[in-house]
């Protein structure tokens, strides 16, 4: 429902709905940072003026239907295979901006091989992935990123590291390979971190526009539904509990990437 509101003449527009987003309502739970990060990607696409040139690759996970929400071309990949699909798309359409949007289960479990190899080959694609320490879509099971001792539907007594290992530090792993030129971990939990995340996503897209190599932005997020918390409480939990295992920072940034002026 949009109500026609009269805007006084002495007022100027500060924030409006991004062109790169459709007006379709999202299916996300209330307060889910997937919505925030979708919006940031859309704002970056608008600001760089690349909407007509973008092809997104959707993951399997809660964001499986991102193609309905972003107003750019999209294809849907099988679980974890987005970087492989993006590789093919970019190689056959080198003038397009190709990005994957993934979840931590998608990229760090079933799709870890595709992601690491695409990065290692230095594919000219960008990846944005959400780390909410869980498999959200399927009902809150343990993901490779689940914290030690964290209770999930498949670890009712908490993640036992002797059986299930420690959280997989995806960004640190991606940063090791030669083809990755920009790898960073941000979070979307408060105003400052959301602005920083947007800047990081913008830099990642600019890396691709400049043809420098593979770029990736991990975004620490919450999943209030499967964590059994309120939306705000869940964001606080990210800062308190996830950061010790997933420190924020930029793990790889070549001099050429550093030289990009990101406004």
């Amino acid at each position: 429902m949009t109500v026609a509101v009269k805007i006084p003449e002495d007022m100027e527009l500060i924030y409006e709905y991004p062109e790169a987003m459709t007006t379709t309502y999202t299916h996300y739970c209330p307060g889910c940072p997937h919505g925030i990060v979708h919006r940031l990607v859309a704002e970056v696409i608008d600001e760089l003026g690349i909407r007509e040139k973008c092809i997104g690759v959707a993951p399997v996970g809660c964001s499986v239907m991102i193609y309905k929400y972003l107003n750019v071309d999209f294809v849907e990949a099988a679980h974890g295979r987005a970087p492989a699909m993006a590789t093919g798309l970019k190689r056959t359409n080198p003038d397009k901006i190709v990005f994957t949007y993934q979840g931590d289960g998608d990229i760090a479990a079933i799709g870890i091989a595709e992601a690491l190899h695409a990065a290692n080959r230095g594919e000219l694609i960008s990846t944005v992935f959400i780390n909410n320490a869980i498999y959200g879509m399927t009902g809150g099971q343990m993901a490779p990123t689940t914290l030690p001792g964290m209770v999930t539907t498949s670890t009712p007594f908490g993640r036992d590291v002797r059986l299930a290992g420690y959280p997989v530090p995806m960004s640190e792993l991606l940063a090791q390979v030669e083809g990755a030129v920009y790898v960073t971990r941000q979070m979307a939990t408060d105003l400052v971190s959301i602005r920083k995340t947007k800047k990081a996503i913008k830099r990642a897209f600019m890396v691709q526009l400049a043809g420098l190599g593979y770029s990736s932005v991990e975004v620490l997020s919450s999943c209030s539904t499967n964590w059994n918390m309120g939306p705000w409480e869940a964001l606080e939990w990210v800062k308190e509990k996830m950061i010790p295992y997933f420190p924020l920072g930029t793990f790889k940034m070549t001099d050429e990437v550093k030289a990009l002026k990101v406004k």
Partner: protein, 82 residues
């Protein structure tokens, strides 16, 4: 009218309350007694006069509910030398 104003797309709101937490002047609240088309208690503005047009709400809202306006900056008056 104050320094800023927001326009709310009521039916997009999911009543998550994130904007209520970040509004620096505390003028956002979840409606206690009305529902939107999705069945949530949507956000309401309690005192638009106090809005500064900072767009904090728009920065955190996962459902792009807000459009934000702010008073145009007036060019500063230059004192005329006598």
């Amino acid at each position: 009218m104050g320094k800023g104003m927001v326009v709310i797309d009521v039916d997009r709101c999911k009543g998550c309350g994130l904007c209520v937490h970040v509004c620096p002047v505390g003028i956002l609240a979840l409606s206690p007694d009305t529902f939107n088309a999705k069945g949530y208690h949507p956000v309401i503005v309690t005192d638009m006069e106090k809005c500064t047009g900072c767009a904090s709400c728009a920065t955190i809202c996962p459902d792009v509910v807000f459009t934000v306006y702010r008073k145009k900056r007036q060019p500063r008056a230059v004192p005329v030398p006598a």
